[in-house]
Symmetry: C2
DNA sequence: ACCGTATCGAGAACGCGTTCTCATATCGCC
DNA sequence: GGCGATATGAGAACGCGTTCTCGATACGGT
């Protein structure tokens, strides 16, 4: 019956503050900062629960475990840094709105799409800066 | 060193004839038609070998096992039927050439992308989970 | 045709993400 | 504050894709 536990709050908090969707593992590490001793099973349990409640949505990227982000952020895509594997949510408008409800040659009826950009994030130094940010540090 | 076995030929043949990239499992079933008794381990072994030789390339789609397609087909994307899970290779030109080598706000330097379209293929018709109907309900 | 060796098939084993189990801790209503 | 119900943590267990093991098979140079 849906209780307000410190763990659940920490999990939602971490999801909201993240630059993009997180895996259960990442969430486990991040939310530990607020909920000491947080167990991985608890993370999974809460993610499933929150998804059923419609408060978070699952995001699947190629060759990667399930990721989750807060629900209600509308249509958008993601960027994955090939160095640190961090996934970022993109704010850009989607350049593929023409793919909403079309039928391609061959009878393929398109109803949705998924776009992922790959590259190097700022922290990993796109070309010059070697700024090294710890994506999993406990800085509140 | 590289022998010409019936199994290997059957595997390459199946990959060439497929409408899109195949998983090891799919390949196992398809190539069995030409190579009776083909083992799954053999499929994996050959895929890895063929990839090292540069004759096939790996394709990763969200929430799915590794897929493979013949190398040298140039830049293209894929379509996955949400009913039968078949993956098709798209012939369309890529509408995202502007994403070749740009830096997005936030310092995200884009070097590549991956686009997957979802929908219903011709064989599966377009009628069941319908929020919209496309009349192609035909035989199935 | 022969022989040495790469390949094969079947099944065990592995890796890893995810779920289950169960005893313990916690929440929140009375 | 007490109590029953729910959530938690640790680790075992699971599912599934992939790789390894090993005795048997078959390719291909001679």
């Amino acid at each position: 019956m849906q209780r307000g536990t410190a763990q659940r709050r920490a999990i939602l908090q971490a999801l909201r503050e993240a630059p993009g969707p997180l895996t259960a593992q990442e969430l486990h590490e991040l939310a530990r900062a607020d909920a000491e001793g947080l167990g991985l099973a608890t993370v999974y349990r809460n993610l499933n629960e929150l998804e059923r409640e419609g408060r978070v949505v699952e995001v699947r990227l190629p060759g990667d475990a399930r990721r989750y982000e807060p629900a209600g952020r509308g249509h958008h895509h993601h960027f994955r840094c090939v160095r640190c594997d961090t996934v970022f949510e993109l704010e850009l408008g989607c350049p593929l709105s023409m793919l909403e409800d079309v039928t391609l040659p061959g009878g393929l009826h398109v109803t949705g799409h998924e776009l992922v950009l790959f590259g190097v994030c700022d922290a990993c130094g796109g070309s010059a800066s070697a700024t090294r940010r710890d994506s999993v540090s406990g800085s509140a």
